[in-house]
Amino acid sequence: MSTLHTVNKSPFSTQSLLSCLNHAKDGDAVLMIEDGVYGGAKGTGLADVVAGKAGSVSIFVLEGDIAARGIDPSRLIEGVTAVDYVGFVGLAAEHDRTQAWL
């Protein structure tokens, strides 16, 4: 039993990403979408927190959202994977439930 968590707000303006990471269980997946994808970039004040969680939880960003914001995939934190919309649907299907962190 596992959960797909989605985060759609910048981690620099809300606590949503942190709260999500603090509640996610081993084997869960976290997908950053919309402004949430800023949390997937290297070199930010939160990158260590995200990287630290990337072992026990799978972390993804939505490809279209990083491209729109000028974030090249090479600038993603180690262990953070870009997925397209089909990948998004796949993640939703793979997990038992989806929880949005608004």
Binding site: S19, T98, L102
Partner: protein
Amino acid sequence: MSETVKKFLYVNRKAPYGTIYALEALEVVLIGAAFDQDVSMAFLDDGVFQLVKGQSTDGIGVKNFSPTFRALGDYEVTKLFVEQESLDERGLTADDLQEITYEDEDDDWEEKPSIRIVSRSEMSDVMADQDVVLSF
């Protein structure tokens, strides 16, 4: 009509009056209560502010919906999980929250507290135990 009962969790992470989320969540819970599902509510992060006692909205011209939480028991919504760490971070204790109770039909209608204070890790367990999670 399916008899399957699913576990629904309504997650509240926003303070009561700055946005419409909190009021909308409560409306949806009350509507959803008509469907005889296993409903719980979670209050964490700024969501814990929704349950603080002594709210008075006369000065801001919006409805004070906090008394509505006390009616949830009549709709068989009797599990209100509140995260201890979220209270701590905001300088609150359980005593700062309004008293919310329900009458337990399986225990001679004894009045029992609906609010259950849980740790962050217990909150994770509550979330992982659901069929459907609705976020507000």
